[in-house]
Symmetry: C2
Subunit: 284 residues, 2 copies
């Protein structure tokens, strides 16, 4: 990749204009370092740089929690798009100590008693942490809308509430990265088939996935809307072509790396007198 | 390693008799596959097997949480013994989605209002999770005892309370593994020096580490006691020689692997009619 090629974050950035996912190629591999084999070789150096940046973030969280940044990666996509795969292959590259992972399921009775952002606030990463959400508050304008779980009036208001919420987080020092993992219906069918073909994958299959699949156009319309309506610069969406798992993992890792580079994280200064401590240690 | 050599878990198992850590070699490398280079080569196959076992544990937690097992690894050791290093190099081998990591610091005001196990119960891993504690309730018979944070009568009672607590966890389906990372004072000095020599490591240094260091014999006495008193078969202690980081990481990984093998975790059965779902999918 030439030095002056644009950042992947610019290439995959969701435009700030009405989006039609039907026109976006799920099998593309923009800016990939090469084919699958060549791209997989890029993971080792990416891991090394990501690990150091994550450790700097974490170190700053330890020494000065009040002013520490936090990173929050939100993963969304239809079933089998690869949210779990990204957690394993991208977040698995860095120290588990600094990772805050949260998976959102259907809300519990307790959660339904509160506003839809209540459980999201409780799951936010602490100072210095690299957080990753497998699904998120966006489900509240996806399944809630497609399956009419709430009135239209209610889910319509949520776009504005989500924008306010994310602006608030950004102001508090969160760097938010939202990735929509975009797959084709054919690839989903292949992956569901693979789950039914292997007893080691039965646990990932849920009969309701086929009901969701039958509403593909409704989900795409709901995604088109949220991508268009909740996409400020401080909490940008990236549309990641995800038919190729190797590309998807590399691309999310790369966007994370570019974002963390842009934070210019330095090691925190010593909170003690280094010379004095060296002297104390020599006698200890 | 010959096929009939004893398991590492047997070799490093803390004896169920009075222990004197002063007589246990911190620089030993029992059953290591070879020198540093050769041992590090064992991490890739270990990672592969650990990952599959962890995924089986996790899958069982997803499909049948009420009956799912949980694994809890407790890491203890003096400063610089390598608790954080083990988290990174052993727990970093598997899917972050299935890891529940918790680091115990000095108790907060809120935590001090409750009994000492209150915060520990709140931090326990859920069904199917592989939990790791960096420090634990054992601090309540370590620093609490050495620094007289509570009366002798109080910390003396805690051994029994800890035994009851861990028996209760075992009965609920927790597999508990407790690792004491055993280092020499000389190695600690080297590692503290390294932290003072590199600005990238200042954040790991705390001037109070030297105060703790000055109480080395008191801490060893406190460890001798807890190793002798809280060491049932359902929640065993392992004494891991930890002067060599490569050996320490390999040994904890190996004990975890042997324990998870012994659990005979199988993939959970399908909770649906596979043939019927295949038929539905072919038409979907």
């Amino acid at each position: 990749m030439a030095k002056d090629s644009p950042q992947l974050s610019d290439v995959l950035r969701c435009p700030q204009a009405p989006v039609d996912l039907n026109n976006i190629n799920t099998g593309a591999t923009p800016q990939a370092p090469g084919d699958k084999e060549k791209t997989l070789k890029e993971f080792a150096p990416m891991a090394e740089e990501l690990s150091e940046l994550q450790e700097r973030l974490f170190a700053r969280g330890c020494t000065n929690p009040d002013e520490a940044r936090r990173v929050l990666v939100i993963l969304q996509g239809l079933d089998t798009a690869g949210k779990g795969g990204v957690v394993r292959h991208v977040f698995g590259l860095v120290d588990p100590q600094g990772i805050h992972h949260h998976s959102f399921k259907a809300p519990t009775d307790e959660e339904l008693k509160h506003d839809f952002l209540w459980r999201v606030r409780k799951a936010l990463p602490g100072p210095g942490m690299l957080g990753v959400f497998d699904r998120s508050h966006y489900e509240d304008v996806l399944v809630a809308r497609v399956d009419n779980l709430v009135e239209k009036k209610v889910w319509k208001e949520r776009y504005g509430l989500i924008n306010e919420f994310e602006l608030e987080l950004a102001a508090e020092g969160y760097n938010i990265i939202k990735c929509f993992l975009h797959i084709s219906p054919d690839i989903q069918k292949e992956r569901l088939q693979a789950r039914l073909d292997s007893p080691a994958k039965y646990w990932k299959y849920d009969p309701s996935d086929l009901d969701t699949r039958s509403k593909w156009p409704d989900y795409l319309a709901a995604y088109n809307d949220l991508l268009s309506r909740c996409n400020p610069d401080v909490a940008p969406w990236y549309i990641v072509p995800s038919d190729h798992k190797w590309y998807r993992n590399w691309a999310v890792g790369r966007i994370l790396l570019e974002t963390m580079r842009s934070m210019r994280l330095t090691w925190p200064p010593a909170g003690f007198d280094v010379a004095e401590e060296k002297e104390r240690l020599s006698n200890a």
